[in-house]
Symmetry: C2
Subunit: 281 residues, 2 copies
């Protein structure tokens, strides 16, 4: 990591802000620059004081940077890949924290020059809260980080050891595999949580037990981020959603005919699966 | 509470065990008896030492008891209401902790004599864990307890102040209202959680983020308890399930046609609802 002097973060929200804080803690010699998209964001970031330098000109932020991190909602992330491409220095390593990977990788291949390496990353952590104000230097500790594209061995090694230094466990998988898995364990979960809140009348909320609070916590997740995720991983999510509705329909039939034995079996198989979850592989 | 000397608990599992522990802490003068359904349960409860007396004869447990608590899955609870009825003393107050209330109330009206008061209760807390081994004296602290039937003012007052002393916030509502609300904020949530685990392939589990763990925690809830709840509140749950599937179908359509604006609005309205949840009314 000695070769790295300047790090640029495009998108200093909850994820990007947490990246800034944790990098500063582990690599105090890094000069960490952050890009502010507006005057308001600029003032907020200056006040937070988690970056060595804030700038509203993304060219200034990325030029001469050894490492560039993109921590933005998928759609805007792709716009910025295109925007910053001409200003990146030769040999720069670009990585992202996007929640769906195939579209991002495609854009990286399209827009970035061959002198620049792109390492697709997705740290599997987050928050329903939005903004650098809520960011934390411990966010990436204990999280799994999936690396989905690794063009040069050297660049991948740098990005991998960076995540490991922040406390993440790095796993590798293709972007296709990533998008299938995440559709199932994350994207569909958010869709379900958003849908639950639409169902329950306001006057019932005061009776909500912990179970309800658990299932609806992530329904506070930012609309801008999640609209992009749903659209960018549409095919997988539609497939999982259709499977999920089929499972609900199956249960509906069992309950309609009061099939006690099969309802018990249905729950029991969920119990068994849940036990497997408690043991992280 | 000075008039109460003997308390009987029928069903000393997670909820009943927590009741025993918390009652003993707050009312050390109570003599707390617990019923063990089998030799195995008897030995386990003796070893746990959270009751003043354990007995395998439910007659001995309830006779002369001033207060009788039923903490069993709905179906068995109704069986025991019938079983203990002949042995209850005149003036005894019976209350329950059942998760659906209309069937239980109907059974109480049918089986209990007029000399006995039945107060239907449901403390809105619990665990995906099963058994008195996991019980805790702090379980009812901060929980809402819904009282759904209160025949005599005096009995209701006793049971209400008992829950309050254990730290619960008591609210009143009819059993019909209770079953509608709980179908929505609890029963459907469990159904959803059980269904999610059926969907996700085992090999994906190691990538599961916190959001997934939150949504599937309650899918470990005991099959015996939840089969009974689903069957005893079938009509409301089927209604809510059908509404939920409609919401998912609506989202499916939006995603199929890639309607960015409406997907954003869908999530945004969930965000607004979630904020209301954070402020407990």
């Amino acid at each position: 990591m000695k070769s790295i002097k300047k790090v640029a973060i495009i998108g200093v929200g909850f994820m990007g802000g947490s990246l800034a804080r944790s990098l500063k803690e582990k690599f105090p010699h890094f000069s960490i620059w952050g890009y502010a998209r507006s005057e308001k964001a600029y003032n907020r970031l200056k006040k937070l004081n988690i970056l060595d330098k804030v700038d509203k000109d993304c060219r200034k932020v990325v030029e001469d940077a050894d490492l560039v991190a993109l921590a933005l909602p998928v759609g805007i992330l792709i716009d910025y890949l295109k925007k910053i491409a001409p200003f990146l220095k030769k040999g720069a390593v670009v990585f992202d924290l996007g929640s769906s990977k195939q579209l991002i990788e495609k854009a990286a291949r399209k827009y970035l020059s061959k002198d620049v390496d792109f390492v697709g990353c997705h740290p599997l952590c987050g928050s329903e809260k939005k903004g650098a104000e809520f960011s934390s230097k411990g966010l990436y500790r204990g999280a799994i980080c999936l690396i989905t594209s690794s063009p040069s061995k050297e660049s991948t090694k740098i990005v991998k050891s960076l995540w490991e230094k922040l406390g993440s466990r790095v796993l590798f998988g293709s972007s296709d595999f990533h998008d299938k898995v995440l559709s199932s364990v994350s994207h569909l979960m958010h869709l379900i949580s958003f849908s639950i809140t639409q169902l329950v009348p306001d006057k019932y909320l005061k009776f909500s037990p912990q179970s309800f609070r658990d299932l609806t916590r992530i329904s506070g997740s930012p609309a801008s981020v999640w609209t992009d995720i749903f659209l960018s991983n549409r095919k997988n999510i539609l497939g999982d959603l259709s499977k999920f509705i089929k499972i609900l329909n199956k249960f509906e039939k069992l309950l309609k005919r009061g099939d006690k034995r099969k309802i018990f079996k249905f729950i029991e198989s969920a119990n068994i699966k849940q036990k497997k979850l408690c043991v992280r592989v």
